[in-house]
């Protein structure tokens, strides 16, 4: 008697159709975020009163559940970058199959190690406000490292096709 075993399907992935729109959101958002970081320019129209669970101004008093005046440029950019990077990372390839799933898993493990390797280095050698910027970047780097590594490995396996047949 055989046990019926379900074929491995690639779970928790988005449809391939998200990949291109995600890139179209990610690239301008990332560029804007870098410009925003360097210039520290605040767009006046984006100052809004927003609800905050935890609020603590620099050198100020901590408060819970308050309404605060806040420039939401960084919130918007942060959300756009994270959502689009997630979609880029975890939308299926056109020909997603078990071999590509294997590359995906391997790249995810690699990206996690690399990300925390960089963070450990930063914890030891980067201090004070500079470390604040490390934390800001670290919100995105695990996804970025994964995207770079995964696409590089896919490209490598495509390249080896050229020699075969």
């Amino acid at each position: 008697m055989y046990l019926k075993i379900r074929t491995m399907k690639s779970h928790y992935l988005f449809s391939n159709k998200w990949k291109k729109p995600a890139w179209l959101v990610f690239l301008p958002s990332a560029i804007l975020a870098i410009v925003w970081m360097i210039s520290q320019y605040e767009i006046a129209g984006l100052d809004v009163k927003s609800f905050s669970f935890f609020h603590e101004p620099f050198m100020g008093k901590f408060s819970l559940f308050t309404i605060v005046e806040n420039n939401i440029a960084d919130e918007i950019l942060g959300i756009l970058i994270i959502v689009s990077a997630l979609l880029i990372a975890f939308s299926k390839e056109k020909n997603e199959d078990e071999f590509i799933s294997n590359i995906r898993l391997e790249s995810l493990v690699w990206a996690t190690y690399f990300n925390y390797g960089v963070l450990l280095f930063a914890i030891i050698f980067i201090t004070e406000m500079a470390f604040f910027w490390v934390l800001v970047f670290n919100m995105f780097t695990i996804l970025l490292f994964f995207i770079v590594r995964f696409n590089w490995m896919i490209r490598k396996s495509n390249k080896s096709l050229a020699y075969e047949e």
Binding site: N95, I100, E164
Partner: protein, 69 residues
């Protein structure tokens, strides 16, 4: 694990792309299996064998190294 996919392909006059299409995987996957870089799942191995009208054992075989590590 050794495999005879390349030989079987030659006999059946199938390209990597042709075999890939028949077993519903990418060409990279067939390429990686042939060059020993990737060990296919049981389902994929069964599908490949079925395309060549062979048993899985006729196409894929264990090597000494598979028992180590």
């Amino acid at each position: 694990m050794k495999n005879k996919i390349k030989i079987e392909r030659a006999i059946a006059d199938l390209t990597q792309a042709g075999l890939a299409e028949k077993v519903q995987v990418s060409r990279q996957t067939i390429n990686a299996i042939e060059s020993g870089k990737y060990v296919p799942s049981t389902v994929l191995a069964l599908k490949i064998a079925q395309i060549f009208i062979k048993e899985v054992n006729d196409i894929f075989s264990l090597q000494e190294a598979d028992w180590i590590d």
